[in-house]
C-alpha cells in the first residue's frame, strides 16, 4: 500500500506546518538529552554513556531530517499524509534508549 496523499487544501489551520515544526521541537528535546548523557559519561568516566549520547545526537539529527521531509511532503500541490515509515518507531526507540541511559547514569560510577 502506498503512502496516502491528497491534493493541497490550503488549510487555514496550518496543520502541515505545525506537524513539521513538531518534529523540529522533538529533535531539540532529544539533543538536550544527548548533551546530558554525554556530560554524565565524561563526568563519571563511563564510555558507554558517551556512546549513548552520540547515538541520541544521531537520533536528534534524524528527527531534524524527518522534520525537513515532512515540511516538503506537506507543502506544494500534493500533501503526503502518511508519516515516513519507521519515523515514529525510531523516535520512540530513541526516547526509550535515552530513558534507559538516564536511569543507568544515576547509578554509574558507583555514586547513586
Amino acid at each position: 500500500m502506498a503512502a496516502h496523499s491528497i491534493p493541497a487544501t490550503g488549510d487555514p489551520g496550518l496543520q502541515p506546518e505545525r506537524t513539521a515544526l513538531s518534529w523540529s521541537r522533538t529533535a531539540l528535546a532529544l539533543a538536550v538529552n544527548a548533551l546530558l548523557s554525554l556530560r554524565a559519561g565524561f563526568v563519571v568516566g563511563e564510555p558507554w554513556l558517551v556512546v549513548v549520547g552520540a547515538v541520541l545526537f544521531a537520533a536528534s539529527g534524524a528527527a531534524v531530517a524527518v522534520g525537513t521531509v515532512r515540511r516538503r511532503q506537506l507543502a506544494g500541490d500534493r500533501l503526503v499524509i502518511t508519516p515516513p515509515r519507521w519515523a515514529l518507531e525510531g523516535v520512540a526507540a530513541a526516547t526509550l534508549l535515552a530513558s534507559l541511559g538516564g536511569i543507568a547514569s544515576i547509578y554509574a560510577g558507583g555514586g547513586a
Binding site: 500500500m1 496516502h4 491528497i6 487544501t9 488549510d11 489551520g13 496543520q15 502541515p16 505545525r18 506537524t19 513538531s22 518534529w23 521541537r25 522533538t26 528535546a29 532529544l30 538536550v32 538529552n33 546530558l36 548523557s37 556530560r39 554524565a40 563526568v43 506537506l74 500533501l79 499524509i81 502518511t82 508519516p83 515509515r85 515514529l88 518507531e89 523516535v91 520512540a92 526507540a93 526516547t95 526509550l96 535515552a98 530513558s99 534507559l100 538516564g102 536511569i103 547514569s105 544515576i106 547513586a112
Partner: protein, 117 residues
C-alpha cells in the same frame, strides 16, 4: 517490508485527524524527554539535597516514567490511528491522570526536600 495489517483496514480519515495524531504522539515523546531531563539534571546538579536516597529514588522514578511514556506514546498513536480509521471513539487511557499524579508527587517530594535540607 509490508505495511502493518491495520493500514489496510477501514477508511483513510480526514487528513487533519492523521496529522493531529502524529503531533500528539510527538508531544508525548517530548513530555517523556522533559521528565527524563528533569530527573537526570536533579541527580547531577542538585548535589546539596538530602537525604540522597530520596533524590536517587525520585530521579530513577522520573526515568522509569519516561521509559513507560515512550512506549505508551507509540501504542496510543497506533490505537488512535485504528480507532479513527474505523470511525470508533478514541480509546480512554489512564495515562493523563497518571502523568498529573506523577507531576504532583514529584513537586511535593521536592518541596519537602528543599524544606528539610
Amino acid at each position: 517490508m509490508r505495511d502493518p495489517k491495520w493500514r489496510d483496514e477501514g477508511d483513510e480519515p480526514d487528513y487533519r485527524f492523521t496529522l493531529a495524531n502524529e503531533r500528539t504522539f510527538l508531544a508525548w515523546i517530548r513530555t517523556a524527554l522533559a521528565l527524563l531531563a528533569g530527573g537526570v539534571l536533579l541527580h547531577q546538579f542538585a548535589t546539596e539535597l538530602d537525604p540522597r536516597l530520596v533524590v536517587t529514588v525520585l530521579s530513577t522514578g522520573l526515568g522509569v516514567v519516561a521509559a513507560v511514556l515512550s512506549v505508551m506514546a507509540y501504542t496510543r498513536w497506533r490505537a488512535n490511528e485504528i480507532a479513527i480509521r474505523s470511525g470508533r471513539p478514541l480509546p480512554f487511557s489512564w495515562v493523563l491522570p497518571g502523568l498529573a499524579a506523577v507531576c504532583l508527587l514529584t513537586s511535593a517530594v521536592l518541596v519537602v526536600l528543599l524544606l528539610v535540607t
